[in-house]
């Protein structure tokens, strides 16, 4: 996948998708903050993705995103994170199953990372257009 946009463009796009997904889940948890018996959900993808891209070259590495998978070439496009459901909470009158502080900090971290990735992506494209513009002189 090494092309004009650099080797990681597709991967960055994928991670941005997953982070958007995580934001969706946080919104879903906070929307259901008053529902008794609702289980908070979270998205876990970092470690799997790290294992998957452990090889320096994405094209030839034999990678596994899950221990149960048959080893094969890693392809970012069809990777999905795992949704982790928290254990069913004890229902205590007045206690919430959704921890607002935890969700808020998850959201803050997530959107910071997302914005960082957009910056990386943009500087990638800026670099390419700069090279094109300078090369013509």
């Amino acid at each position: 996948m090494t092309d004009i946009y650099g080797a990681n463009a597709n991967l960055i796009a994928k991670v941005m998708d997953l982070r958007l997904e995580r934001q969706n889940l946080v919104m879903s948890n906070l929307a259901n903050i008053n529902i008794p018996g609702y289980k908070a959900r979270s998205l876990d993808f970092e470690s799997d993705l790290q294992n998957a891209i452990g090889t320096a070259d994405l094209r030839s590495g034999m990678t596994r995103t899950n221990g149960k998978h048959v080893p094969g070439t890693y392809d970012a496009s069809d990777y999905q994170g795992d949704v982790v459901k928290e254990f069913k909470p004890r229902t205590i009158y007045g206690a919430d199953a959704v921890d607002m502080d935890k969700e808020m900090s998850t959201m803050a971290k997530n959107s910071l990372m997302y914005n960082a990735l957009t910056t990386v992506m943009k500087s990638n494209f800026d670099g390419i257009s700069k090279i094109i513009a300078e090369g013509g002189k």
Partner: protein
């Protein structure tokens, strides 16, 4: 599986919390109501019934395991709270019975205020999530500038 899904979820939560807030206002406004429009005794305290609903239509949710986990929220109805009324001795009151007792709704102001703060915190949390998703969206648009 996009920004619009996130906004739909946030919007559903805002509307549910707002409905809850309206019901709380109604309870407080009617704390001393001894006669309702249909002539059926004192006002009865109301509450809202909320339930989680899938954020994406079923057909689309089949696409991925993730979409099935996204839950919005909706108000299933405004329900009556059947707690007994308070009896106050006021012989001069037009709604007093033969013994001079008036039936007042049993509305506890502190309880309603607590619910009100909960609803307003929930509302704030959801406005924050909506602002965040908007900021993310704008950052994504900046890539193309």
């Amino acid at each position: 599986m996009d920004f619009m899904t996130a906004l739909d979820i946030g919007g559903s939560a805002l509307s549910a919390q707002r409905t809850y807030m309206n019901v709380i206002s109604m309870n407080l406004a009617n704390a001393k109501t001894t006669r309702t429009a249909n002539g059926q005794g004192p006002y009865q305290r109301k509450s809202v019934a909320l339930e989680s609903t899938p954020a994406t239509p079923f057909g689309k949710a089949m696409d991925s395991a993730l979409s099935q986990e996204l839950q919005g929220v909706r108000v299933t109805g405004i329900v009556n709270d059947n707690r007994p009324t308070k009896q106050v001795y006021e012989p001069g009151h037009p709604d007093a019975d033969a013994n001079g007792f008036v039936q007042y709704p049993d509305i506890n102001v502190v309880e309603e205020m607590t619910n009100m703060i909960q609803a307003s915190r929930g509302y704030e949390a959801n406005t924050t999530t909506i602002s965040t998703i908007k900021a993310m969206y704008n950052k994504a648009l900046e890539i193309g500038r």
